[in-house]
Amino acid sequence: MNAPLASPVESAQQATGPVLEFSGVTVSFDGPPVLNDISFSVAPGETRILLGPAGVGKSVLLKTANGLVQPDSGTVAILGETITGLPERLLIPMRARTGMVFQEGALFDSLPVRDNVAYQLIQEKVADEEIDERVHIALRFVGLEQTFSLFPGSLSGGMRRRVAIARALIHYPELLLYDSPTGGLDPVTSTTIIELIVKQRDVYKTPSLLVTHRLQDAFTMCSHRFDTEKDAMVPLPDGETDPGTTFLMLNDGKLIFDGSLHDLVHSENEFVREFLE
């Protein structure tokens, strides 16, 4: 049997157009727009980091990306298919092609780690032996194989996020959405999570959109690569950055920046400069 986490590589390489595309998306909830005329895209193999202060609409944007929130206007397309306006029954199979890591992990409290990670596989009635094998591989990827039979309540915050990453990866996602995966964690645990995300980016090359308000995480992702021989994240040579990792910045519901790390640090935009400082 192929390793369960191998498939995204193939799918990412097969894709040609944008994996995710926002065109003039506006979202509001009984008030002024939370997202206002947002347009950007995520290319195959690309990792986009969405920066912005807390409460600016980053999580709403991420939920709009896989149809959990429907826009008032504009369109969202995943893997070449427009999902805006689709009924829930048609959105569900589309969502199954993406993996999403929620802010606090959003693990199901009443299920053990094994059933949490294998949730989609259980719904699809995959054989128990295959489920166990794939869960072990996914948990090994995040370094938590020993938590197989534990319940989420007995895990620390960082472990919950890592289990959530394993759950997002097990179903061969063609697009990964991370909602503040390091929010509220200590620096050491945050680095562990970022290392996992860099590993996923460099080893499996799954395109992703990562939301964060922590600049240090974003810069670490840009300035490091995953070394498979050392099985660890290592810094890139001085002056080099990962070309596939680019930035977006959101403020007051508008996208105020879209570009590379170099463009970001040299931006003339007043808010961008203030945010970086």
Binding site: L68, E104, A106, R167
Partner: protein, 257 residues
């Protein structure tokens, strides 16, 4: 200012009724298309039905006993204590068995559904479920509604039975009347429309309990405080709606038979 507040409250009420109607209809229709989560239905039958058995048995038994005590005292002034069995059986089967069981199960299960689903909403577990390609309406709501309707039907029969037994215990051991006479009167005057009325009601009540509990759970906002609010609303609205629907069903059944 006052008119505006009334206008806003009225619009909110109509909107809530509309959302509830759509929610309940969708949950019910999910039973007729795949996937139907039968294993979740069985688990819910166990939680709702088996888990509520004890409170229903006790509530039914004591209600039957109280009915016998009160009716015997009143009937004695007409020299008609012999019909205590008929009075208790009719009251339990036509009315009290279904309503009391509905309210007991509502207090136990509508609140638990609202708090469980509400907690899942505020901790993003519902969103996670949707993101994992599973429809929470099919996975969480439809099984609870189907299981409550089925189990409340049987719990009501159990409550009726225990109520008649409770009435018999008071009649025989406290009022010193003849047990055979009690059961004979309880059985002799019972008609099929009485039984039909008592068994149609729990179907409506079961649907109300689960759909209201799930509805308020799924629209929870505002963190843990919101979960508490949803729980209170679900029990209050389910209990009031049970009594209101009981009146409507009783009026309809009485006019039909």
């Amino acid at each position: 200012m006052g008119i505006e507040a009334i206008d806003r409250a009225a619009k909110n009420f109509v909107l809530t009724v509309q959302e509830y109607s759509l929610f309940a209809a969708r949950a019910a229709l999910n039973l007729f298309s795949a996937p139907v989560y039968w294993s979740d239905i069985i688990v819910q039958c166990d939680i709702i039905g088996v888990g509520s058995t004890l409170i229903v048995v006790f509530a039914g038994f004591f209600t039957g006993g109280v009915l016998a005590v009160q009716s015997a005292a009143t009937l004695a002034s007409f020299g008609a204590t012999a019909v205590t069995g008929r009075f208790v059986a009719m009251s339990m089967i036509r009315e009290l068995g279904a309503v009391l069981t509905g309210i007991m199960v509502s207090g136990r299960n509508a609140s638990s559904m609202a708090s469980e689903l509400g907690s899942m909403v505020v901790t993003e577990q519902i969103d996670a479920m949707r993101a994992l390609g599973v429809d929470p309406m099919r996975k969480l709501v439809t099984p609870r509604i189907f299981a409550t309707v089925v189990m409340l039907f049987f719990l009501t029969i159990l409550s009726d039975f225990c109520g008649i037994l409770g009435g018999a215990a008071v009649t025989v051991f406290m009022n010193g009347q003849n047990g055979t006479q009690y059961f004979s009167m309880a059985y002799e005057y019972l008609r099929y429309p009485d039984i039909l009325q008592g068994l149609i009601k729990p179907i409506f009540f079961g649907f109300i309990i689960a759909s209201i509990g799930c509805f308020y759970g799924m629209r929870t906002t505002g963190g843990t405080q919101g979960v508490g609010q949803s729980t209170i609303k679900s029990v209050v609205f389910a209990s009031v709606l049970i009594i209101f629907v009981d009146l409507l069903v009783s009026l309809t059944m009485v006019s039909l038979f």
